[in-house]
């Protein structure tokens, strides 16, 4: 893997900077300011209706972003997760409509199928040493093909009323004033934060991304550790696919298109390094909030569609620049200006 070329210096950075906490703080500040601005422009932005609505909109990008963050921290990238979400949407909906399957069983089978794609990704990257970009590009196309194959190249019919519980659990229902998908997001965040920060799996994830060879030499089972993160990201994409099924009440073949890159955006805005070895899931959460608040807030402010994409693109680049500047202690402003 190309990670072998990562300079050893990175390994010696202080813990705080390895984990990217500085970026999380600066981006959180920016998020708060944005929120206030949008609230001033259109007071409806702060209505409880919109706040609960906004939280629900952020959840899919946050969940799929956490999976992408795991992969990015190992120095890889997972391009297949958008298609895996689409595949999960189509498989779950087809099982519930054409096969009249019990929704719980349908969800379990769907998530297993999603994890299988992750397993393939993981083995391709860790065992055969294919570049992650190439391996997951292939499975991205395959998973989209499976999505199309699931119901014979047709979107499914509406899922039956027997599955109303499923729709409520994954999208429409509320518990304690918040939509259920928000609670699912919180639970997944808690689980995966513990995995990343408190377990051996988490330490190995950082270790592979910081210095692959060093991790290997110090006894990390790199095949196992790397495969795990791809299974995590596919699993999380599978959950997002279930949310998309619940949202539309049907299977859509192009569901989840380009989510994989939105997930990269949420991750890097939140300080996860695409070079590996650095990042916190709380950063990804803040990153996905920036994404969601921009989309929602710009609509409320009446900004034209084209400008929304421009703004979000600029935010992605500027966020990474902040990270660059904050990380390298020796930025020479004069050199920048001269250039």
């Amino acid at each position: 893997m190309e990670n072998t070329q990562v300079p050893v210096r990175q390994k010696q950075l202080r813990v705080t900077s390895i984990r990217g906490m500085g970026q999380v703080i600066s981006v959180t500040a920016a998020l708060l300011v944005m929120t206030v601005i949008f609230g001033i422009i259109n007071p409806s932005f702060f209505s409880s209706d919109n706040m609960t609505n906004l939280l629900r909109q952020v959840v899919p990008i946050m969940i799929i972003g956490m999976g992408q963050s795991f992969v990015l921290i190992t120095g890889g990238i997972d391009l297949s997760i958008g298609s895996v979400a689409g595949m999960s949407c189509m498989i779950s909906a087809t099982l519930m409509t054409a096969a009249h399957m019990n929704p719980i069983l349908a969800c379990i089978i769907t998530l297993i199928a999603a994890c299988m794609v992750g397993l393939v990704n993981g083995l391709l990257v860790s065992k055969t040493k294919l570049p992650a970009f190439i391996a997951t590009l292939g499975t991205m196309i395959i998973a989209r093909g499976i999505a199309q194959l699931a119901n014979g190249n047709l979107n499914t019919d509406g899922i039956p009323e027997a599955a109303d519980g499923f729709k409520n659990l994954f999208y429409y229902g509320k518990t304690f004033g918040l939509y259920n998908p928000v609670w699912i997001g919180i639970i997944l965040f808690a689980i995966f934060t513990i995995i990343l920060s408190k377990t051996t799996t988490g330490r190995h994830t950082y270790a592979i991304g910081s210095n692959y060879e060093a991790a290997k030499l110090s006894g990390v089972n790199v095949v196992k550790a790397e495969t795990k993160v791809y299974i995590f990201s596919a699993f999380l994409a599978g959950v997002v696919g279930l949310m998309l099924t619940a949202q539309s009440g049907m299977g859509t073949m192009n569901a989840g298109t380009s989510y994989e890159l939105n997930a990269v955006a949420a991750s890097v805005i939140g300080g996860v390094s695409t070079m590996g070895g650095q990042g916190l899931l709380i950063g990804t959460v803040i990153g996905s909030f920036i994404w969601g608040v921009l989309n929602n807030g710009l609509q409320f402010a009446g900004a034209p569609l084209a400008l929304r994409n421009l703004v979000i693109g600029v935010v992605v680049i500027v966020s990474v620049l902040i990270d660059r500047v904050a990380r390298s202690g020796n930025v020479d402003l004069k050199k920048w200006l001269k250039f």
């Binding site: 409806s44 949202q247 192009n254 569901a255 600029v314 935010v315 500027v318």
Partner: protein, 310 residues
């Protein structure tokens, strides 16, 4: 220096948001606070079709003193359109004019909007959930009209049999499927063979490739039919590239389609009346918001046949 630069970048990040807001639509501004808010949510903002629905809607909204906003996903996508509807509801819309991307997928969101007191009128494409009114083209009849136009053109060219290819959008969109089925019924009855339809999501480039595939793969191909703006442009461009005298018929009116009609690559296009959909849609909205009668539940906004003069 490092901190200063970080701060500078954070400020830039925030400023970029201002930049986005600075160009807000002016239509919503010079109206009093009590004015009712009408939202138009289309499938996307790419096609001139939607731009014309917006034009009609904003003209009527300005005339009636309604606050008006147009929103749509950047691409045709069920999940994104549901978010757009949810956002409009949270923005305290009083009424939403909606062009449903998928009649099934959007229905739950429409039901929730209605439960919160938001009124719904469909323009262009209705969803399964009932609403106050629907203003749309009768697409089955429009497809049949496209077919009779093609039969006219074929007869004019002295042809009585052969193969005809259809470039569709996707199998889930009712409007374009109706156009295909209406067309199919008439053309098959006249004794022509219809090839297996290619669905290309309204993407002009992909439609062109498929249309060209039809031309190259079938010596006896006599006609091509596109069921929306993008597929029609693809059909016209493929016929133009092939240099063959194949009859191209399609849907919608745009600069690209007008150009293809002008040079004879397309023989005719069924022009819908999107301006009327938006214009009358907002008039209906005004009536509904003031508890007046909105007339018939379904209004056919009609089609006009644009012909090539070559």
């Amino acid at each position: 220096m490092k901190k200063l630069l970080s701060l500078l970048l954070v400020v830039m990040l925030v400023m970029s948001v201002f930049a986005g807001c600075a160009e807000s639509d002016a239509t919503a501004s010079d109206v009093t606070k009590e004015a009712k808010l009408v939202y138009l949510i289309t499938m996307d903002k790419m096609d001139q079709h939607w731009v014309n629905v917006d034009k009609g809607a904003s003209v009527m909204a300005a005339g009636l003193g309604l606050k008006y906003k147009w929103d749509a996903p950047d691409v045709k996508d069920n999940a994104k359109q549901i978010e757009a509807v949810n956002n409009a509801v949270a923005d305290n819309a009083d009424l939403i004019l909606l062009a449903a991307n998928d009649p099934q997928a959007i229905s739950e969101a429409v039901k929730n909007a209605k439960a919160k007191g938001v009124k719904i009128i469909y323009v262009d494409s209705a969803a399964n959930e009932p609403a106050i009114a629907t203003l749309s083209t009768n697409n089955y009849q429009a497809g049949a009209l496209a077919a009779t136009t093609m039969l006219d053109e074929l007869a004019g060219a002295g042809m009585t049999s052969g193969k005809i290819g259809i470039i569709g959008v996707n199998t889930a969109t009712n409007s374009t499927m109706d156009r295909e089925n209406g067309f199919r019924a008439v053309v098959e009855a006249a004794g022509y063979d219809i090839l297996t339809t290619e669905y290309k999501d309204g993407d002009a480039a992909a439609s062109q490739e498929s249309a060209y595939g039809f031309i190259v793969g079938n010596e006896d191909l006599v006609g091509l039919y596109g069921t929306n703006e993008g597929s029609t442009v693809g059909v016209g461009n493929a016929i133009k590239a092939s240099g063959k005298s194949i009859i191209g018929i399609g849907f919608d009116k745009s600069d690209a389609i007008q150009g293809l009609l002008n040079d004879g690559s397309l023989k005719a296009a069924m022009a819908q009346n999107p301006f009327t959909m938006g214009y009358l849609g907002v008039a209906q909205a005004y009536a509904a918001l003031n508890d007046e009668s909105t007339g018939p539940a379904v209004i056919d906004t009609g089609v006009a046949v644009l012909r090539s003069n070559k």
